[in-house]
């Protein structure tokens, strides 16, 4: 995306807000009239979307996009690491129990 620089923060904010609001129908798709039901699919999507937001915050709000390559790669690595740990913990917990 090479949006006009002045509008870029607003577009970033709109995107992040939209992803946040998307959580509501995501949960509603599996909940049963206020009774919550377990769903690996919803959990996985929720975590992946959170990681997308996290990376977006790193790159846009924290301006890693304009940082040296090392920091870009380090933050990307961190997002991957966090993702691996979260999804790994969740599925390991499911497998064990």
């Amino acid at each position: 995306m090479n949006a006009q620089p002045k509008r870029r923060p607003l577009i970033v904010w709109l995107t992040l807000s939209a992803i946040t609001l998307a959580y509501l129908p995501l949960d509603r798709s599996v909940d049963n009239h206020g009774t919550y039901r377990a769903s690996s699919v919803v959990t996985t999507i929720a975590i992946l979307l959170a990681l997308v937001k996290a990376r977006y915050i790193f790159r846009e709000f924290m301006q890693v996009r304009n940082a040296p390559a090392l920091l870009c790669r380090l933050t990307d690595l961190w997002v991957l690491l966090i993702g691996a740990v979260l999804l790994g913990s969740y599925f390991t917990g499911l497998a064990v129990h």
């Binding site: 970033v12 992040l16 959580y23 915050i57 924290m62 940082a67 979260l86 917990g93």
Partner: protein
Amino acid sequence: MTGVAQAGPQPGAAGQPPGEGTGKSHRAIPGQPDIWVLVLFEALVFTAYFAVYLVHRSAHSELFLRSQAELSPWLGTLDTLLMLTSSLFMLLCVQASRAGAFRAAITHVCITALLGTAFLASKITEWALLAHDGYGFTSNEFFTYYFFLTGIHFLHLLIGFITIGVIIYQLRRRERRSQELVETCAVYWHTVDLLWVLIFSLLYVVR
């Protein structure tokens, strides 16, 4: 914090980050390089907390789902939008400061502080509502995690207000103003936002 005005990133046109709109590929680390140690380290520590939570969630799925239903997804969503908007204004503050528009920058960071305060108020309200319904730190395993994670995040946010104070102090100085310090504090604020984004998804959204 040396308080010395930094000859770091060159201000581009109208507060552009380096390398944008100037045709040059001048890249600079946002803020002090040292703050990134804090950002990455805290992210790891919180990830460890989240891992423990997720494993235990899987073990007591029924209890966690039932308890999670007591939370309000609307309040959680509002909290997230407040944090994201506060980060937006923090970014605008940094850009204005870089462009030399210090009064605008101060306005933006004050809005950040207001939105942060709104988040705190929302959190306290949510805690009070839960307490009124009889749910506390020791009620059950889910609520232990809920109050622990939101509580430690709350503490990080309070520290964020100190960093906002540092930003305002820097912006109001005429001499020896440090853009690097402003950006360093901004990075910390965004980290608090980032942590909330993860906490929100894990406490309110995952099933």
